[in-house]
Amino acid sequence: MRDFSYSRARDLSDAYAADGAGRMAIAGGTELLNWFRLGIAAPAQVIDLAGVEDLRGIRSDGQQLSIGALATLAEVGENPEVKAHAAVLAQACVAAASPQVRNRATLGGNPLQKSRCASSRAEEPLPWPCNKRRAGSGCAALEGLNDRHAIFGWTDACVAVQPSDPIVALAALDAQLAIAGPQGRRELAAAALHLTPEEAASEGLDPALAETRLAPGEVITGYRVPIRRGARSAYVKVRERASYEYALVSAAAAIELEDGLISRAAIALGSVALKPWRLTQVEARLAGLPPTREAVLPVLKDAFGDARPLAHNRFKIAMAAGAAARAIVEAAA
């Protein structure tokens, strides 16, 4: 690991110097230290956010939950207000990583982690092409082993998926990110933080390098999660070992019931695209159905008509539809 200069931000404005390249902000560091080791990043300066009080705390005012960016995944996962009003988020945090990592990793940093694509996440110098690591070099996963990769939103430039669990829950909860930067403060829907390569290309950005809608110097300061009376939610993570593993696919369901039938449903999938994938085209059609697998699965399957599986990941279509159905059933239970 190359050495870097180190400073402690005293307030938010100190953090705005972090441009994400030569100057990077550190919170827990569980992801950043591995970027340094692999050569994914080699900043000259690291700015420690740990002392910025504005980024702390988990509060509820009855209308919404406010969660500071420095809240650890462990703190969010065990918080009584989060468990009561946003169970899917608490479950997603506890399903992420290990107890040790969750004691350091923060909710602000977690969605900014990079893909686990084995072709991308290797030590310098990369022996194969990756457009994220060396612009224009190609994508080794496109024609290589791509069972873990995207079925939505990919282009030839990049077929990776975003592995964050909490961002999938936040997307289903219609959470808003609070963002601060040199230009001021703004909010952004959690589901809109990341860009798929397809979206980036359509906006004239580099499809492999434009990963989020954060501008240089902008910091996620926290999250605002609306509290809906009677809402129930659940997170289902399908993986190759029962714990401490990234998802093959995951599903977050946030639903409301009236007389035993679904009256409103929001579903987001994880690890199927480079962003949490909301099933907006079928969510309205879930209303009026009983929250049973038999009732919801045919509707959920219709959300995969435009899926574009790669050579090795066609299984993700059935698996993701099944995970979404299970999330609905568990949310209603």
Partner: protein, 167 residues
């Protein structure tokens, strides 16, 4: 905001195993390398060095963390506990005794991390039944696969010491 250039030494003041420590470190020095190479606390093991195996688990202010994913300088003012600060040859910690009683190790390389993780797991109240222990001890890999014995040892130690006991 004070800033020190790369290569310079930063002042670190913390407590390690209840003893005050003052040292100079580079910004890039991980807590793991600091404990092993500077303080010679080699009970802290380096396995994967990327947060995947848990063998470098230590307690920071009583919470279990991967020392390889923590910069030493991030531990300013913190209390760090390594296996050297748990029990003694004459008076083992109940978790250490339970690991021996249940034969919860073969090669022993992961054991310091397992013990510290188990102490925290019990203190958190997560040592209630085998499934819960397996979930909440999943951050510690054992390549000898002593998992059934580790699970039994953690449950046994939890029964003996109660959730309030701590390192």
């Amino acid at each position: 905001m004070d800033q020190t250039p790369p290569g310079s030494r930063l002042q670190l003041t913390c407590r390690v195993n209840r003893q005050p420590v003052a040292a100079e470190v580079e910004a890039r020095t991980t807590l793991l390398d600091f404990l092993r190479d500077r303080l010679r606390l080699t009970g802290v093991k380096k396995g994967c060095n990327e947060g995947a195996c848990g063998t470098c688990t230590v307690l920071v202010d009583g919470k279990r963390m991967n020392a390889c994913l923590t910069l030493a300088i991030q531990c300013e003012g913190r209390e760090i506990t390594t296996i050297e600060g748990v029990g003694s040859a004459e008076a083992l910690h109940p978790v250490q005794q339970a690991f021996i009683a249940h034969d919860a190790l073969q090669c022993g390389y992961c054991t310091p991390g397992q013990i510290l993780s188990a102490i925290a797991c019990i203190a958190e109240g997560h040592a209630t039944d085998p499934d819960t222990v397996r979930e909440w001890m999943s951050g510690n890999i054992c390549r000898c696969s002593a998992y059934p014995q580790i699970t039994a040892a953690v449950l046994d130690a939890a029964r003996q010491s109660g959730p309030e006991r701590h390192a």
